[in-house]
């Protein structure tokens, strides 16, 4: 089975966001980066499928040089090949990322493409489906359980209040959600082995942008709340305020 996994590098989720001097992006100083947590599920799923069915796992990323860190994390988990579609700038939109990934993936004709359901920075929840459209593969996103039998796929997708059982066929694009598996921790052996794996660099096919960020702002500051400290004795007052001031009850 030839499996391609899309990986991206994102600011650690505890990062305190400061707006950069351009007022259009974050100030990167002091920000630490991690492999997008949802992509860890995708890498793990790919490795498990390979362990069961044979084949290879190729980690790919679209981004600047820095994105190699994400690929290296996938190497440490056990991916064998890595490809960076190297953007000259970090100023690209979701469409541009999807388009470049799709153009590369198309030429590879994989059996399966895995992504995390979304990346935690821009949270567009759209790259898996966009890539799938571009390469004309079916797509199932937000997947918490994946069964592949021959070329038949049965997946469980998380929705509001439950799940959907979705059927499709290989080749396909799958977006992974927490719950699908427990990503492995790299062991010393795989960390050592990962050091000698080269990341192949590929030139982007598309450099446009479909949207531009005109401004980045912090969310409107909340005014300080009313804090009560007398325990249950304050309950009647709280309920009164919820009814009369906040008008939510």
């Amino acid at each position: 089975m030839k499996i391609i996994v899309g990986v991206s590098l994102v600011p650690d989720s505890t990062t305190k966001v400061k707006i950069g001097a351009d007022k259009k992006s974050i100030d990167e100083a002091g920000v630490s980066y991690i492999l997008n947590p949802y992509d860890e599920f995708a890498v793990e799923e790919a490795l498990q499928l390979k362990e069961k069915n044979g084949g290879e796992v190729i980690a790919i990323s679209y981004g600047t040089d820095k994105a190699k860190e994400a690929i290296k994390k996938a190497f440490q988990m056990g991916a064998e090949k890595g490809v960076l579609i190297k953007s000259a700038t970090a100023d690209f939109d979701t469409y541009t990322a999807a388009k470049n990934l799709a153009d590369y993936i198309k030429g590879q004709s994989p059996d399966l493409v895995l992504f995390g359901k979304t990346s935690i920075d821009f949270d567009g929840l759209s790259v898996p489906a966009m890539v799938a459209e571009m390469i004309e593969y079916p797509c199932i996103n937000v997947v918490v359980k994946l069964d592949i039998n021959g070329n038949e796929i049965t997946a469980e997708r998380e929705i509001e209040g439950g799940k959907e059982i979705v059927v499709s066929n290989l080749p396909a694009v799958i977006g992974t959600q927490k719950g699908i598996n427990n990503p492995r921790y790299p062991n010393l052996k795989s960390i050592m082995a990962s050091k000698s794996k080269p990341v192949e660099e590929v030139t982007p096919t598309y450099n446009g942008n479909k949207y531009e960020v005109t401004e980045m702002k912090l969310p409107p500051a909340k005014s300080a709340g009313k804090i009560f400290t007398n325990g249950a004795a304050d309950v009647p007052e709280l309920v009164k305020l919820l009814r009369e001031e906040a008008k939510v009850i």
Binding site: K24, I26, G161, I165, V167, P219, K222, T229, L242
Partner: protein, 337 residues
């Protein structure tokens, strides 16, 4: 070029979700500001009478695609619906009607089909918009990024635009009691092929009869401060009195006290209820990411320095085991239940 808006709204079992009224109202508002026409599209069975009522939110015409007719084209037996086919219906309708601006509600279904429609229609795309405004004739969409820690304003290149609207954020606005005209769309005219049913939903499993956090107007969430799953009845009873959904922090979901479906936060669900009550939840940044856009936040925590108090509108510093039962009783009293 002149603009034309298509709003795709979701129905289930012959009823519209609240998000449908939000999207129609926003389409009405934006069409007014742009001075253009808008139409509404929905896919469903037995939905016509309900669809007429969208007129009271300003829709003059609703295009209705019959779900059973659509499903009859599926190659997968037992298809209930298909995200890929829905995407084709929206894209094809937009192109037949000459709509260049598409609005979709950012529900689970909406977010799933929208990126596909964006590619099919070659539109610039914003997923999960929380505010829209017009600036010099251009649409500007505001979207939370970095787990809600900042917001971006997006301007679109070109005049084809697709936007999904975060549920519960935009206001449904009733503008009268006019009935919308219904136009039945012949499925045969939509140029569907086998490829358009590349995947299909065969079964929808409802996790419980309970209200889901993603759709609830009031949420009572519990965290590790409740000490164990046996104490969640406190949260459930309070939620019961308020007609609220129950939510949970990741810590308690990971500990197996509650199901993942209840998890609120960055790796759980994003919610924007009018009231969010956080019980024994510290307010880690990843939890805040999922609930900070709630309209009113009440925090109950015995640690006065817990970060949750920084975003709470009302904070109760104290023991949840005393406060929650008292709160439940007080609500029972004032709500007469």
């Amino acid at each position: 070029m002149s603009n034309r808006i298509l709003a795709f709204v979701e129905s289930k079992d012959g009823k519209f979700k609240n998000s449908a009224f939000e999207v129609v109202s926003e389409a009405k508002k934006i069409s007014g500001e742009l001075g253009c026409e808008f139409e509404v599209l929905t896919i469903g069975s037995g939905i016509d009478a309900e669809a007429e009522n969208l007129g009271s939110y300003g829709a003059s015409k609703v295009l209705v695609v019959d779900l059973n007719d659509l499903n009859s084209k599926s190659k997968f037996p037992g298809t209930q619906y298909s995200h890929s086919a829905f995407a084709k219906v929206v894209a094809e309708t937009a192109s037949q009607k000459g709509a260049n601006i598409i609005l979709i509600s950012g529900t689970g279904l909406g977010k799933e089909i929208a990126p596909r429609v964006a590619i099919k229609t070659d539109s610039a795309f914003c997923q999960d918009c929380v505010a829209l405004h017009i600036d010099g004739g251009n649409i500007i969409a505001t979207k939370p990024v970095y787990a809600g820690k900042s917001m971006i304003d997006m301007k679109f290149n070109g005049d084809k635009i697709l936007i999904t609207l975060r549920p519960n954020v935009f206001k449904p606005v009733k503008s009268g009691d006019a009935k919308a005209a219904i136009e039945k769309v012949d499925v045969g005219s939509l140029n569907l092929t086998d490829k358009d049913f590349s995947s299909a939903v065969k079964e929808v499993v409802v996790s419980s009869e309970k209200l889901d956090v993603a759709e609830a107007d009031i949420i009572v969430s519990g965290g590790r401060g409740l000490r164990g799953p046996e104490n969640f009845h406190l949260v459930e009873t309070l939620a019961g009195v308020l007609g609220a959904a129950t939510g949970a922090s990741r810590a308690v979901v990971d500990a197996g006290w509650r199901g993942h479906g209840e998890q609120v936060g960055q790796t759980g669900k994003t919610v924007s209820p009018s009231l969010y009550i956080a019980v024994g939840i510290s307010g880690a940044i990843q939890h805040l990411a999922g609930m900070s856009s709630s309209k009113t936040i009440v925090a109950i925590n015995k640690d006065k320095d817990a970060p949750i108090f920084q975003i709470a509108d009302y904070g109760m510093v104290g023991d949840a085991f005393e406060i929650v039962p008292a709160l439940t009783d007080e609500f029972k009293k004032v709500l007469g239940s």
